[in-house]
Amino acid sequence: MNPLDLIDISAATDALTLLFSEPQYWLVVFPGILIGLIFGATPGLQISMAMAIFMPMTLYMDFLQAMLFLTAIFTGGSFGGGVPAILMNIPGTSSCIATAFDGYPMSKQGKHNEALGIALGASTFGVFVGYIILFFLIKPISIMVLKIGPAEMFMVILWGITLIASLKGTHVLKGLIAGFVGLLIGTIGFNEEGTLRGTLGNEYLLDGVPVIPAMMGMFAASELFRLVKVSYLVEDETLRKVKLGKIMRGFRSVFKHPLILFRGSIIGIFIGAVPGVGSSVSNLISYMETKRGDKDPDSYGKGNPKGIIASESANSTSEAGSMATLLALGIPGGGATAVMLAAFAMHNITGGPQFIREQTDIVYAIIFANFGQVFLLIILGLLCIPLLASVVKIKMTYLIPSVLALATLGSFGLTGNISGPITVLVFAILGWFFRRYEYSVPGAVIGMLLGRMAESSLLHSYQISGGEMSYMLERPIALGILCLMLLSLFGKTLIQKFKATRN
């Protein structure tokens, strides 16, 4: 099929004319990206929160302008979330977990400038490629998403969970235990049938353990406890300098790894399109696939720049994936797109096949505007990074209480009550024990993130199949995902064995 057949050329021309007819469309993009950067880079403040706070402003905008403003916040936030992951080991969002694996060790080695430059390069590339794919494949993606049922969702989650085993080469058993304990913690509270489990009568746990505060506690607070005797994040004074040249070098170095970038982008857009799971899993799958395919897998987790590229290219592309399901089906893939759906409603617009068919020019205008946002993000990112990277110059005596207080305030912001800060405390202590005795902290966090969804997907599959679990293997996409999962787990070993036999 000719790729041009997938595009409505006249709608694309109309979209370009519309975008450049009035400067007002571009005026909202700059503040949008800046808001996204600030909210993404502040631990505890979420992109969805920023969009919800600023959504009332879109009442005074027309629909296209409102969408450009909100997608600009989304784009800025997708990079912003990686900044605290790199500098403080606090993933700003669940989609930046894998960014912290190598970003934070790079910061500790005094390579914070390069790490932030790499994150910016991979993020902007991811957003750009994501929207190009969306431009060509919005209809096929929406058809694919319609074919995804609970069985396929469960397989994607299972894929994410099995990655836990290989997150750390050594201590695989402890990694799996941490992941499965995380899964069980993730199911605490009411299940879909209205049965209450594991709350000990605590009303704050009725909806389950607040996952993002738990993530902040396990990742950030537990790590900060370990650093109380360290003077600076980067011990060597000469390495603490913030240099634009190094940031630019990091930015440019990204493009020396086109394979990792494209693989991350492809994984990002297709996994990102799966509602609910999306970017939380895509960054991990991309990271693990890159690690698995590398000649030196042991260098990952110790400050390998390729780890940041893999994670950031996948999580930024996921934005386009989740936009595909929103625009084509009217289904929000996560918090940010749920706010966008509310903005759709405010402007009396319903996403879905009819919207794409009748307002193709608007859909294309949103996609084209995101290409422009990429360049603005590069400029704003390069302007803001030197300021953000100055974190390494702050004494740990000051940095630790400040970040702990920020995490506490942010967790309150997420839950609206004291359960958020208490969750941070409990999981900070648990995370510290897990780190000390080599249980996988990311494994536990991923388990918590996906536990509830995994249970629901399995239950729905059971109900749909009337109790015949073999149904899951009768679904071609589910089977395809299972094959991919097995291939990613055992493929390399099998190839090696095959080669050894041939030799």
Binding site: K174, N191, F225, V228, S402, T408, L409, I418, E455, L459
Partner: protein, 152 residues
Amino acid sequence: MRELNLERRIDFILLLAIVLFITWYAYDAYSALASTENMIFIAPIAGVTLILCLLELYNQLKTKDKEEGTVKDKFKDIIPAIFIFTGYILSLEFLGFDIGTILFVAIFLKVHGEKKWKNIVFYSLLFGILVPLFFSSMLPYPMPMLILPTDY
């Protein structure tokens, strides 16, 4: 069973705590409703995790004692920080985010080596006022505060 050193004992206790949690949680879920729908996910995951814990226990008993100094962070270094943070979190509802944060930052700085009182007072006041103010203006619901304005 061979005699264990302190590090291995704590490692063992942590594993035991995990086993107890899994067993209790699976039992609690089963007691809540002993149906397939309720246990379809919890039962197999709990079962697999308990088997993994048994394998890990076997590993722990098989391996040698951890050598002194292999673990970088010491309990005595960490405990003051954990206590101060715990005090901060537990006092938030009556001290509020303003006074609570000011006191937390000030005490943390003092305990962890900041000698200049002027720096402690200036930074804790600046941080403890500006940051809660920023969050309270951004969040859609009131935050507990003792002095700063709030609808809590």
